[in-house]
């Protein structure tokens, strides 16, 4: 049911934080307040009056949140880092080329110029690319609250479509994407009806090989369930196997089990399963190819 939504945002208190600590204390002082990072998901929701936070805390003036750092070979992305900055960061690309591959699919450049990667993680759309990449790479977010900081691994962070385990008084100050293991191959594939739309299904893969055999596999998907998911059935079907066409075929079929999204306007459930299987075959083939090269 559509109510009296418009396209102009409702009133809110606009608060500018000058440090992470200030942002966190503003969060606890203003119940229901939301962090304004890139605003590329939040502002449309407010324009439609689907979201009406009493206060917004702008974190874009906090220099410490604007950096991409390589820490122990992992890519740590501050909460105010724009998608586009991460996409264009050569250091991040070197540590984990999956980031650039996936970011290419995130909306369009003008959106990536404003939208932040951490914001996208916190928004936690079940069809969004970057939450899936965080899960795929085994990454984590760092939450800051009144009582200090804690790391939340991706598989504990994304709970449901647009729902995370962040506490209301916590702010996610960074996300860390582990580097790609040495010699591993990677691939990312997505299908949406239009370029830049949320995925009907997207799959990422990280594979390692010993000779002709897959020694480790991480495969994850988004768009197919109420949150990004690891395709553990596919992984199990690959590990220890020689990479034959038949093995890829079998693994692809296993992906179908992960689809729990109901029929929607863009995809029936049966089609989504079929699509996911096809994309899964593609990323396995491509990742395995790259793994061999290294």
């Amino acid at each position: 049911m559509l109510g009296n939504h418009g396209v102009k945002p409702p009133l809110f208190d606009y608060l500018v934080a000058r440090s992470s600590e200030e942002a966190v204390s503003l969060l606890s002082e203003h119940p229901g307040a939301m962090i304004l990072a890139g605003g590329q998901s939040l502002i449309p929701a407010m324009n439609f009056r689907l979201a009406s936070p009493p206060a917004l805390i702008d974190i874009n003036r906090i220099a410490e949140l604007k950096t991409v750092d390589i820490v122990d070979g992992n890519v740590r992305v501050g909460a105010a880092v724009k998608h586009r900055d991460l996409e264009q960061s050569d250091a991040a690309f070197k540590a984990n080329p999956l980031l650039r591959a996936a970011l290419h699919y995130v909306a369009h450049i003008p959106i990536r110029n404003r939208g932040t990667t951490v914001g996208s993680l916190c928004h936690a759309d079940a069809a969004a690319e970057m939450p899936m990449v965080l899960l795929l790479t085994g990454g984590w977010v760092t939450a800051a609250g009144a009582s200090g900081q804690r790391d939340i691994p991706a598989d504990k962070f994304f709970e449901f479509h647009m729902t995370t385990s962040r506490e209301p008084d916590e702010m996610i100050v960074s996300a860390t994407f582990p580097g790609l293991p040495f010699g591993a191959g990677h691939a990312f594939a997505e299908f949406a009806r239009r370029k830049g739309d949320y995925a009907i299904a997207a799959v990422g893969a990280i594979l390692e090989r010993k000779d002709d055999t897959i020694s480790s596999a991480r495969i994850a998907a988004c768009g197919i369930a109420s949150r990004p998911v690891r395709l553990t059935g596919v992984e199990a079907a690959l590990i220890g196997k020689k990479l034959t066409n038949e093995a890829i075929q079998v693994a692809g079929e296993r992906a179908k089990d992960a689809v729990t999204a109901p029929d929607d306007a863009n995809a029936t459930s049966a089609y989504r399963q079929h699509l996911l299987a096809g994309l899964t075959r593609r990323v396995i083939g491509e990742a395995a190819e790259k793994a061999r090269e290294s």
């Binding site: 559509l2 009296n4 995809a267 029936t268 089609y271 699509l275």
Partner: protein, 795 residues
Amino acid sequence: MSTRKFGAPIKRNIDPRLLTGKGAFTDDINLPGALHAAFVRSPFARARINGIDTSAAEKAEGVVAVYTCDNIGHLDIELPLLIPHPSMTNARTQRPLARDDVYYVGQTVAMVVAVDRYVAEDACALIDVDYDPLDVELDLERAIEDGAPLVHPTHPNNIAADFTQVSGNPEAAFAEAEHVTRIKVQVDRSTAAAMECRTVAARYDSVRGELTVWDGTQAPLGVRGGLASIFGFDEDKVRVIAPDVGGGFGQKVMFPYPDELLVPHAAIQLGRPVKYIEDRRENFIGSNQERTQIHEIELFAKKNGEVIALRDNFLHDTGAFIPYGIAVAQVASTSIAGPYRIPNIHVRFRAVYTPTVPVTPYRGCGRPQACFAIERAMDQLAEDLGIDRFEIRRRNLIRDEQFPYTREGLLFADGLRVQLDSGQYLKALSMAREAIGWDGFAAEQAAARQQGKAIGLGLAYYVEGTGLGPYEGGHIKIHPITGKVYVNTGLTSQGQGHDTVFAQIVSDQLGVKVEDVIVVEGDTGTFEWGVATFASRAAVVSGNAIHKTAIKVRQQTIKAAANMLEADPADIDLEDGHAVIAGTDRKVSLAAVATATNPLRYAFNSAAQAATQFAPASRHDGPPLIDGQHPGLEATDYFSPECATWAYGVHAAIVEVDRDTCAVEVKKYICIHDCGNMINPVIVDGQVMGGFAQGIGGALYERIEYDREGNPTNANFVDFLIPYATEVPAVEIAHLETPSPLNPLGVKGVGEAGCIAVGATLASGIEDALKPFGGTKFHQTPITPSMIFGAIFNA
């Protein structure tokens, strides 16, 4: 002689303004002190209203007025039925603000006027409307069954109109058929989605009693007529201006939308300018849409493929109201035989009320549906009889010598005969066949299939009745000081480039530069006769009116110049802004001629001295302006076509279906197109390519979705999938130019051409591609990946 501008790829006059951000769209016009309107809209598809509590909104800071049906006085009426037709009884139209009942999600219930749009939207949320929801039926076929919930209790089975047209003697021909092909097809609902939503701003001058309305409409003259009638004003006290308008595509020809009355009403009552800028979500739920039709079409043929009769029975979704009458369904029903001779036709439609946004024309207006029905049926007939798809068409096309080809008994949407006036239908088909590579395609397809690739060839032919009357006018005046030429017509432009093509027509007659011809349209204050921009009619109707007018002004100019140069009028040429004695360097500027033909008392510049009473050329032996003479160089004329002129074309495509993603890749798309003589081929191509992109949208992406309760579920640009550049394939266009015999310029319309055949072409191609891969029939658009998956895997 200057080179002829008609037919030349001239750059557009309007572009520098639009490219530098100097366009003046309605919301760009600065109206100091303007207030802003926002609407409360029904959240239910069908409900009784028990009460509306506006008290909290009225008290809100910044709110100036709140309107419901109870305080809008003479506006609390059912809005006009614009095009009455005998097939409708008691046709239902909506009220500006709902009284007692609402009939679709998005219907206007209350209007708030406030200091800005933000505050107005805040106040809308404070208005409490008490509804009792009623049962609804959204499915077109179930809506006509006995017992289905009624949109209007006045209309049993939800039938708004039931109309049959017959040409020839179909009953007799049915009996003679050796083969009958029957298919059922469906085209789903879409929307114009112009980049600028609808807009209205109004200012009332209470001293002069004059109402000025800026309206992003295709029909300012219509809006003026509506406002004057409903408000009881003299027409000359209402000025409606369509400034720059950001696309229309038919949605903006409908009037009056509720806001078009309520905003002027508020401006009059509040003594302040009032603006309403529709937002995108409102455009999806409050501005009219088009397309859903379900056709059951039968082709009665001889074994050799000759179609001797056609029967079509279709349902047309008209939404909750039918303000534009049966126009869309009537265009579909009279276009159903396409470019084929088919001498016997029986076509019946029923227009069905559904509790959804009302249906009025969107670019194509019934033609895409008719094309989809006949072309998919021709493909099926070809398959049934084992004849190839080009050949079956070749055997049925109207041959060159058969033009004009009249479908006796059918009346088009203008109430005039259906007469396909000219064309080279067979040549266009063979051009398409060659351009798409039909002859080598079977081998190419077989080779691709060997590799597991699903490629197919699609084909569809279309006709387009264009240039409908009743008439348009043209007014031309040569400015006495600058020599620039001012042109007015009753139309509006939403991007079509009228200002340039009309200037080209005038330039040829008056020998002035195209950029020195200034076309002003869309302002009832400058020209007040005419109809509107719709039905691919501007070039045909206004173009010819302006052409006729330009000839008159040319004659005046030559006569006056001959007089000034003491030469024979037959020796005068008009070129480069001058009247020249052919073969000499003796000439006089048009400005001087215009000045001299306007006897003056006062010389306000040096050029004007020539027209004052003691100037050498002035007469001293009688009145300066002789009896019956009009001062200056100026004329007005009109063009009223005897019937529509029919453009046509062929589309063909090579597509590949990715069986993993079920996505369609258009590998090659060609369009053979004939709109008669082209005034500006670049603009014609632009129209075709733009229509084509909308056709791609309708074929593969765009579908207005409602749930079972009648809630729109994709009323935004995130979920309603308009193609970006990445989704629109390249299209190769080739033209034929078969002049229309029905107008002096020999032109036909092009506005809607591009969109008509895309759905049928791609369906044809996808079906062909998937034939060996378990594919079935593609008899519905848009064709989504899920549908392709279902077709391949029977799921």
